[in-house]
Symmetry: C2
Subunit: 485 residues, 2 copies
């Protein structure tokens, strides 16, 4: 089914929204009066195409169609999701919502990227107040999952539920904020930290670089995975959360912070910060910093994904949803056991997929093949599995990050404890990148020794082996290192 | 050379310090009057042994010797580094420093873990004020690199320099804070965020879980790698930092935050927070949360290590320092090409080292072998390298996280463009875990086709191949999948 999102306002934030929807298979209709809008969104899209597909261990949907429109009315036509990211002025927001109303579907969700206004301020006097809510994203929108979803009293429950559902489906993590306040929640923390940071710089206690180091070598690493309260819960230990919080009592009353005062953001302080920032980061262009930030985010997110924790669990949910939509594979021909893009963490200093990730791709394909014959998580929990005993890989061609790759699997032999399979790793352009030949043995996870598989698994394996028996022996199979055919 | 640290106060923080030094090869002498100190430090050490070795891609130094002492005088005897982590009461701190003075080396560094006191308050009236400074760590001390180093006016420059050097040598990232203020820098931010969080909970805007989600799905992921200012620099884009900051001007004056007020931390608010925290995290024990936190930190830190960024760059510096201390390898026998522990991110759902990481271990060993014959980063930058064409692995035994492993390499053939090598992967207990047989071809990085190596590289390779020519052909070499000898 075709899905269409309208992006009203195409700056860095609007561009991030456009990329998030487009790369998740939605058609995206953009309105922005800026004549440079296509270039600006193109830059954000280039960043998103570099990084976002790396978060998935499956191939992403085909990109939707991106179109630019001369009017808001044209851009919102047919869109089930509309995101407003126009400048932070209430009069502009109101005019925009009126223009959206004139042409939008009556059941479209209308999200606002506002970081400061309450949804009831946005919706004041609007004919489509029931459709409007705050959906506040974080830069870069194509990588960071958080969306603060804040309905106004006029927003219908249906609108909020639909917003949560759509945002989740494009890999985001909407957090429903039940009470509207100025600046929602996240920016209140950012504001508090920002004020304190300004004082530290003004008073020459620390530079921008020292402050950043204090955050990124310290509590930033904790907050990326657990936030504030769960971190303190762990720190508090067995004595419990209530006991731990009581200890904070006295400190709260101490004059540690200057939060009561607002530093004057005069030219001298602005120059001081800008100069320190130049000394800290001026050796990188903004483009280089964006690339570094995005690569780092991919590494952090993929690391959390291996632990199925926090933002990593969000990614696994998306992969699982895509997987459960797969049809049952046809077992008469070669079996498609993997279809994915090459993620950024599979790349080495040579710029291409590193040696061991070829085996990673084959091992994932083997896991999928095992699943197909019934050796899935449920079966493994009963104490049986297959372990690889031997592997032969021919590295035939290079492949780079972002490339779409597939693995097709042929069963050379399957009977008793043994399973002999042959994988072909191909680029979407048809190039054969590598072959992997593997001998696996069924093992008892209790004794760690080889053992016969369950009858239904052996039967399925034999069925596939018989289906594949008439296929020619693949080139490269049965070969030792350095040996010709 | 034997190095000795004294740990005065053995709670969670003292235990973290003990683990950090011990696992980096220092002898550690502990004083704590608590009869349960050995159990408590033992628990922290178990966590540290699980996680810390995963941060290195080399084997860590042999653990030092851990001893417990009945007096401060005994504990500090012979220690070049002394860390005080006693309760946060100034009178206790002063008594402790006096007792340290009575027996410490006159050039020992005396660091304090205090989170609130200024170093001049700590050193007031102390005979050893020149040796005392704040070295404020972050929990878990064995994983988080940040140390806020704050000297008092009485601290000598030599003491500060020595503290920075020692802390760096055990994998920490000391940040020298040039002016002393209450609570140093990091805790000022934590205090500001904490106050704001208390208001949000008290006013029913968000729960502990929603606040944690807002942090860990949003700005926490940015702060883990870039902190505050570099993040804003990127967000500001080409317009520059000064322009970006000016935009904050108006927001600072808006009544977004309640920072001026301190919420009363009464029983009702404490209960509310504790109840919300139970609902959020109560399904995990503290031990499970610690394990999750540490595994997540390892994944984040190792992810940043691949990018050589921030806390990951700190880890690479430590590995490089250890590497440059290596002797030139003996090329007449088998060549030791790897010596490391199995890190946590090499483990799969079966709990053992996953299939593809065997090839990862072999590929790293191949890189080291290439370096030994002169195909190092400098040579590769001139446009030549070796690519693996073919690999044969026999998986012979399982291995788990934290195990010490080695790879020893035999050159089966080396001449012209070809290099045929054979790796043996062994557990420190002597078990052979796997063998890897690899055919590599020298390539031109410009044409991506095979090409002859530089003369000095081929000569070195031939020299090693001749040295190894008399060795027996290794068992398993030259074999195809499923083929016996």
């Amino acid at each position: 089914m075709e899905k269409t999102a309208a992006i009203i306002g195409g700056g860095v934030i609007g561009g991030g929204w456009a990329a998030r929807f487009l790369l998740n298979g939605w058609n995206v209709q953009v309105f922005d009066p800026d004549p440079a809008v296509a270039r600006k969104i193109g830059e954000v899209l280039a960043n998103a195409r570099h990084a976002l597909p790396s978060l998935s261990d499956r191939v992403m949907p085909r990109e939707g169609k991106l179109t630019y429109h001369a009017t808001i009315a044209e851009a919102v036509t047919g869109a089930s999701y509309i995101q407003e990211s126009v400048p932070e002025r209430l009069d502009i927001k109101h005019t925009t919502f009126a223009a959206i109303h004139a042409a939008a579907l009556p059941d479209a969700v209308i999200g606002s990227s506002t970081s400061g206004f309450k949804p009831s301020e946005l919706a004041k006097g609007a004919d489509n107040a029931t459709q409007i809510l705050v959906c506040h994203p974080f830069n870069p929108v194509y990588l960071l999952p958080l969306i603060e979803v804040v309905p106004s009293p006029a927003t219908t429950k249906t609108t909020t539920a639909k917003a949560m559902e759509i945002l989740t489906s494009v890999g985001l993590k909407p957090v429903h904020i039940r009470a509207e306040i100025d600046a929602h929640v996240a920016d209140r923390f950012l504001e508090a930290v920002w004020r304190e940071a300004l004082w530290l710089i003004k008073d020459d206690i620390a530079t921008t670089e020292e402050i950043d180091d204090i955050i990124r070598y310290g509590f930033g690493l904790r907050w990326a995975q657990m936030g504030l309260f769960e971190t303190y819960r762990v720190a508090g230990g067995e004595a419990g959360m209530a006991h731990f919080i009581e200890q904070f009592g006295p400190a709260l009353a101490w004059p540690w912070t200057k939060l009561m005062d607002v530093p004057e953001l005069d030219d001298a302080l602005i120059k001081k910060i800008a100069d320190q920032s130049d000394a800290q980061s001026g050796m990188y262009t903004i483009r280089e910093l964006e690339r570094a930030r995005d690569n780092n985010l991919v590494m952090i997110l993929r690391g959390l994904k291996t632990q199925n924790w926090g933002a990593g669990a969000v990614l696994n949910n998306i992969d699982s949803a895509a997987k459960s939509a797969d049809d049952a594979p046809d077992l008469t021909g070669l079996i498609r056991t993997s279809h994915r893009t090459v993620p950024l963490d599979w790349i080495d200093y040579n710029g291409h997929m590193t040696e061991s990730r070829y085996l990673h791709a084959f091992a994932d394909a083997t896991d999928r093949f095992m699943e197909i014959i019934g050796c899935d998580a449920e079966y493994i929990a009963t104490g049986g599995s297959y372990f690889t005993a031997e592997t032969h890989i021919r590295h035939l061609d290079e492949v780079h990050a972002g490339a779409e790759i597939t693995v097709d699997t042929q069963c050379l032999m399957g009977a008793g404890k043994k399973m002999h399979i042959f994988h072909r790793l191909q680029h979407a352009d048809g190039r054969l990148l590598a072959t992997g030949e593997h001998m696996l043995l069924h093992v008892s996870l209790e004794t760690r020794k080889s053992s016969p598989p369950a009858a239904q698994i052996e039967a399925k394996l034999i069925e596939i082996a018989q289906n594949h028996a008439d296929m020619p022996m693949p080139e490269g199979a049965g070969r030792a290192i350095g040996q010709g055919r």
